[in-house]
Symmetry: D2
């Protein structure tokens, strides 16, 4: 069986090298080209000792690939993707550049005018649990942000079923790798360790993506979402705690009904597991799993839905490979079967 | 000037030994008796190498003290406090045994029938920012729980001012020391590190305390509170993120008005600091400070109030000493002036 | 191709469940029986959420297996292994029970009289890099301790080549998972985090194993070894820093000669990588790699050899599978090809 | 009683702000001037929220002080100190610029020619346990490096007593704050956490300082020292494990004799505590303590001396204040009496 040729654009960030780790073990793929401007000319082994088995040099650009994964920052990603797209290369873009359908959101949230607004409708938002069939037919998949992945999987069933009021609060807790590999004081060990803090109170860039997709599930809800991310002293993982008020008349049978709604919604999903006790992010470390615990509090009439993911896998590189698998018609779990590393 | 004699009941837990650390440097107090059943007969230096300068042996009981701090577990605390109380010893109880005014809450939340229900009204809830004058006249002060301290200081001004709807969500993140020094799998290093999880979804024991005190601030609000604690891989610190919807007509001038409300409420408080950016728990490490950041989101009409404390200091031992200072008529900051240890 | 049936004795510790994680993805093995007294009757998913894909119940004993891995504590391991051994089951024992050739070492170091001293000569010390051909013919392999694995791989080439004086110092730094999953104050999060300490100054049980194997490499050296382990606030990993004085006349050409000696010694080894800069344990996380950096200090005439492993993989479960692969005649890397998880 | 005026040069690094934390509570000192080029014009509260109680602005230079602490990098420190020295300001220099007596060491180890070589003999190496009386008479004190402080206190008694052979190995483990507050990949949270590594194998700048001072204790020993530092995933603390061979005839009575030698050497020292079990760095967190555990291994004839300090206190800011106290003739513990913060 012939393997397809895959390339990673910007392998030198955490999402990029995580793609390399996973693709290296993918049975249908040959990772044959990786790029990264800051390290161009170096071997992967020199920059990433853990990945020395991948005997590739880092180039300025990827070339001659059937599928390309972009882990570039926003704006730069669109620029490098467009020529590949025109050549017919299948693309999974880990940046935000093709996630939002409304081109007007880019100047507002990302400070740039989108260079290919016409492609926004053609690109598919790559959350397989919501858009599997569109992904299967896509050439350009916009891989969801790490926070949206956890929040949408947590809220999706409740929002789609219309059992909640539109006031939704998402309190997310992320490990430090979500802030990337570049240097700033926030991610200095001595500043990040032994501390928790909230950030982006004035609005996080993942906000419009969450709203867009929740709206897509249930256009009738006049959503009022608050999304607040927190930085946690750990490397990987996002825990999203989502709160919403249940509509009168919904969940009459109580928490069991909620649990059943969730189990049913995700019953065929290979990577989403509805669990009966609150999950720890540690139990997803290194894997593409999303653990979800739905809870209904009778006294307050509120539901609490908690999801746990590894932000670099289901929140980035793993989901990108899941999307590629779907695009290629392969079994969705190919190359993603390893269990989380615990403890 | 004669120092008063102080004792610590159950010095062998984290709150107990933190009391010892702080009292050792208190200029008006001589720490002269500490108890701890599991380590009775041992010297403090043998159990706690960092505190070897405190040249005391751990006894089975404290004796001959003017003021006693109890760091016993609930139920046991009331039992050991009552005889001291009858002898006229001033008491600060770090357990929950005298926090709740309704004796019926004890069987419900703590699984025991209160042995001195008549004292519940006499005991004063020791949150100085809310009950300073009562504390000054009290003989028995019930030191607040760690979560309630952070949550109440965050929500107090808004609730008292009546600017919010009664639906309140408190999403708290606590370091592991809050779970105590006894052994269980949850606090095993390898289980707690690199992970975040929620717990006590069915109701945490600090819940009734939060509701009681918020109700005390504004009896007109028909509160519906959700309080959810999370375990974070760090030793000290609680960050509480509180969400509430603003009433129509309130905060017409926007976030500045909210900030002013908070600054005004806490303007004379020595330990509460209203800050203009989201605080990290690290910036309170080892100190009695509470940092509060109030934020108003115009789009959703929601306020987000974030507070950061050190759970072992303002959430336990430091606040207990603050209470003693008030009870004794001393300057409130006596013995609590040290800056946080950073980084 | 028929898979062989494998069982794990005592799956409920960290080494046991790590075996399960790795065996689950081994293409030649069906993990069909796991035991663990403390959790007998429970499903793996209930005890280890990360491993829920392994749909097995935990039994009191393993049964009907072709190969058994024992992750029992010492003494108990020998007891449970012996009947299986008599039935012809191939065994990899992760405990210390068959590592030492001198039965007299067991009362001295492990406080018990060995129940099958005659088997000690028959058992093979399972460090493939030293004993590959014996392992290939063995029925009972004694998997090395985590510290000996790192120390022996670091020191082996220099000791065998006879370039060093017999005074050797091994200063090892281990993550907390090496202390196991059972509860004690040392592994409480709040005690282990933010701290480093040495332990076992009077002699660690891995000491005789290190001496035995170094002696086996070069019986002419009258070894005087000091081995001192330290506990480090991280979950996985052992870094061993080894110091020895170079004999007069050796390494005349300097550090390059040392590097060449090491590269040559390990040139065909799939899991040992001689690296040109000091390794971090993080770069082995979750993998069977051993990274070794040999350094020669001309001024002092001393060599410093540093090795990094993941104590639960190359130091336990991974090496056990490597041993099984050799015993079965399979490619040695089967099931162990995944890259480390970084960051 | 009139307080003296103190200033901190370069308050914006970890040692500088730690000086501020400690000086703020020093009863004989008024901290009245702090400098820091990168943050000049900002308030301390803006850069360091934990230290908001210190109501000072950060200036370009310190002025009008009786005593100045320099936390500048090497070379820059000498340049800024010299004019102050000429004005008669007492100086404690935390940089390396006046630690080495041989001016030729500066080009070799620090890549610059010393601008005031004549002052090197006049400056006093500020390890009070070795040079107390000289410090008392000094105007310029060179505060020891963090590693030398721990290593020298560990080895001092044995080297001075001449009981060891001159081959000495110092294996040190340091928290990340030792690497400073400036940004580089090594101190990125995701790179430093969950990992241990050695560095500076080719020679660390603290090496000549260690050798100079050990030589000063016992000029008859022809020392051959290996010093190897390691980076540990924690914020504060250095553990130094020191190995040396005992001379024939020494320590005939065994480990008790070694313990007695150490207890006697340090019997009047306020900050050095000889302890009977291996110390954890955590037990010095935030304090000026040095915990030392001397151990004699009869079998190998080797001693192992372990010391634990907080690198930012006894290894930097605390020792600087201890030195000032001695220079001023105050009780040596003034302002340094607080217990370590545990856990």
């Amino acid at each position: 069986m012939t393997k397809i040729k895959a390339g990673i654009i910007n392998v030198t960030g955490y999402a990029g090298i995580e793609l390399a780790r996973l693709l290296y073990r993918h049975p249908m793929v040959e990772l044959c080209s990786v790029s990264g401007r800051s390290a161009a000319g170096q071997k992967i082994a020199d920059v990433f000792p853990h990945a020395a088995d991948i005997r590739l040099s880092i180039d300025a650009d990827v070339k001659d690939v059937d599928v390309a994964f972009s882990a570039m920052p926003h704006k730069a990603s669109a620029e490098v993707i467009l020529p590949l797209f025109k050549k017919g290369v299948k693309i999974v873009d880990i940046s935000a550049d093709f996630r939002l359908k409304d081109a007007g959101d880019y100047p507002k949230w990302y400070d740039f005018t989108h260079p290919a607004a016409d492609l926004l409708q053609q690109a598919v938002y790559g959350l397989p649990e919501f858009h599997r069939s569109d992904i299967a037919n896509a050439v350009l998949v916009a891989n969801p942000g790490c926070y949206p992945t956890g929040a949408l999987l947590a809220l999706g069933p409740a929002v789609k079923a219309g059992i909640v009021h539109p006031d939704i609060i998402i309190d997310s807790k992320s490990g430090v790798s979500g802030a990337g590999r570049s240097l700033n004081l926030t991610t200095h060990f001595c500043e990040a360790v032994d501390s928790v803090s909230a950030y982006a109170l004035k609005g996080h860039r993942h906000f419009p993506e969450i709203v867009q997709e929740l709206h897509g599930l249930n256009a009738g809800l006049d959503l009022s979402v608050t999304f607040l991310p927190h930085l946690i002293p750990m490397t990987r993982g996002i825990l999203s705690t989502c709160y919403a008020q249940v509509k009168d008349g919904a969940l009459k049978s109580g928490g069991g009904e909620l649990m059943e709604l969730y189990r049913d919604f995700y019953k065929d999903e290979p990577f989403v597991r509805v669990v009966s006790s609150p999950p720890g992010t540690k139990h997803t470390w290194g894997s593409n799993l999303c653990l979800i615990h739905p809870y209904f509090d009778n006294d307050s009439g509120r539901i609490i839905i908690i999801s746990a993911i590894d932000n670099l896998v289901k929140g980035a590189a793993g989901q990108a490979i899941q999307n590629m698998n779907i695009m290629m018609g392969w079994p969705e779990t190919t190359g993603l079967e390893a269990l989380p590393v615990y403890p």
